[in-house]
Amino acid sequence: MRYIARYGLAFVLLLGVWWLASWILFLVHERQVLPTPWMTFQVGAQNIRLLATAFGNSAWRFLLSLCIAFSIGLPLGLVVGFQRKLYEYFSPLVHLTYPIPPVALLMFLYLAFGIGETVKVLVVVVALFFQVLVAAQGAARQIPQSYITSVRSAGANTWQLYRHVVFPATLPSVFTAARVSVGLGITMVYIAENELGLVAGPESGLGRLIDHFAFRPDLAMAGVVGLALLGLTFYSGLDLLDRWLCRWRHLEGHGEG
């Protein structure tokens, strides 16, 4: 409950700042530069079907990318981080490729895959993949030896070692990485939709919608609000999943004796 109250407060505060900014800009330029929250929500309500479709398409694109990035990056990162020998060979590779912004490769991806759905998802996957990979790899290197010894002493094979120790031990850091990468992921969705969706209509995604309505600031602004909501949805979704799967971390108090 307090969680929701805090978000409510932040929302109100943000609306205030937004309104103030559009008012000041209006005074300075003597015309409406930044639509007010009221104008935005009004036009948003009128075009709710279009916005919802665009939101749904962007959300689906992001969810798909997140899943693909995790299902490749997580196992790879864990194995590489955990097997010391592999890490020594693999980490230079990661550190060479990690800093390359996927946007820089956009043109090549475009040439290779055209401007279809695949390439949009691919751009986001590439960006998220490295976040997940690096986080998983780092977390796997931090696992206390005593956890490993306790399952090895019970006779665990490699698979059991991963199941009982490596995976659960790294899960919290992986969730943190996932939450942090929501911002990056949405930026990438926006860019992918814009740069690679020139022939698509505004309903194909929020990024596309914002670009398409460059001369309708109120509608574009409604798209921006949509992006914020998209981020919030994923952020809270991951947070809830974390609280459920890693509930052992969110406990307090000590027993007696």
Binding site: S146, T149, S150, S153, A154, H164, A169, W248, L251, G257
Partner: protein, 244 residues
């Protein structure tokens, strides 16, 4: 029965080699409980890891019931220093870890109850006191009904009341179950209280510098007796001598 013959163990190779155990030989009879004391860092945990089959001897032999130890054996259980509980598993899941890994159908309900952990089965280690955590660690080993139990400082860093409680509990379990035990401790009184023999390690690289017969261990009233204090004093002097 455990036989250790000319056991040497080194970590690392070449210039970074750290010699920990140097030509150790001793044996533990079937059903005997021996204590092992020595300065910290001398290689006590290392010896237990070797007995458990977690690390290979550099040279020498370890035999259990006449069989060379090559890896993990199901009839040998290890209680780790600081219990080594997995924080994401409940008390029950921690206690049953060994059973699950070995694919056994048993549960740890009975063992947990014996150790006074009834009603705490669904708690997480983060919710437990230090003494309770240690008992979960003990339960995890006992649930496997091992014939050989290796204990790495199971009572270290506990308040004296809790420590005494767990010492009595360990003793009771040993009498009831009749396992062969090796108890590593840096508490001399505990070593004398529980071990029918007390092995003393020198500083690293450890050699076996003393074996003290202590047949009265585990008997009622031993803790308060003259003989008890005498042996404790003797070992204390011995260890102090070695530190110098």
């Amino acid at each position: 029965m455990i036989e250790v013959e000319s056991l040497s163990l080194a970590y690392g190779r070449g210039r970074r080699e750290i010699m920990t155990l140097d030509d150790i030989s001793f044996s533990v009879e079937e059903g005997e409980l021996v204590s092992l004391v020595g300065p910290s860092g001398c290689g006590k945990s290392t010896l237990l890891f070797a007995l458990d089959g977690l690390i290979k001897p550099t040279t020498g032999h370890i035999r259990i019931d006449g069989e060379e130890v090559h890896g993990i054996r199901r009839d040998v259980a290890l209680i780790l220093q600081d219990a080594g509980l997995l924080p994401w598993k409940t008390v029950r899941d921690n206690a049953e870890l060994g059973l699950r890994i070995q694919g056994l159908k048993d549960d740890a309900t009975q063992t947990l109850a014996t150790l006074g952990l009834e009603g705490f089965e669904s708690r997480y280690p983060g919710e437990l006191s230090e003494g309770m955590k240690r008992r979960v660690g003990i339960a995890r080993a006992l649930a496997l009904h091992p014939r050989v139990l290796l204990m790495d400082e199971p009572m270290a860093n506990l308040d004296s009341l809790t420590r005494e409680k767990i010492q009595n509990l360990m003793l009771k379990q040993w009498k009831e179950r009749g396992f062969t035990g090796v108890l590593v401790t840096h508490d001399i009184e505990e070593a004398v209280l529980l071990g029918q023999r007390v092995l003393v390690f020198s500083p690293r690289p450890a050699v076996l510098s003393e074996v003290l017969a202590n047949p009265e261990a585990g008997m009622a009233e031993y803790r308060g007796s003259e003989k008890f204090s005498e042996r404790v004093r003797y070992l204390r002097d011995k260890l102090q001598e070695e530190e110098e």
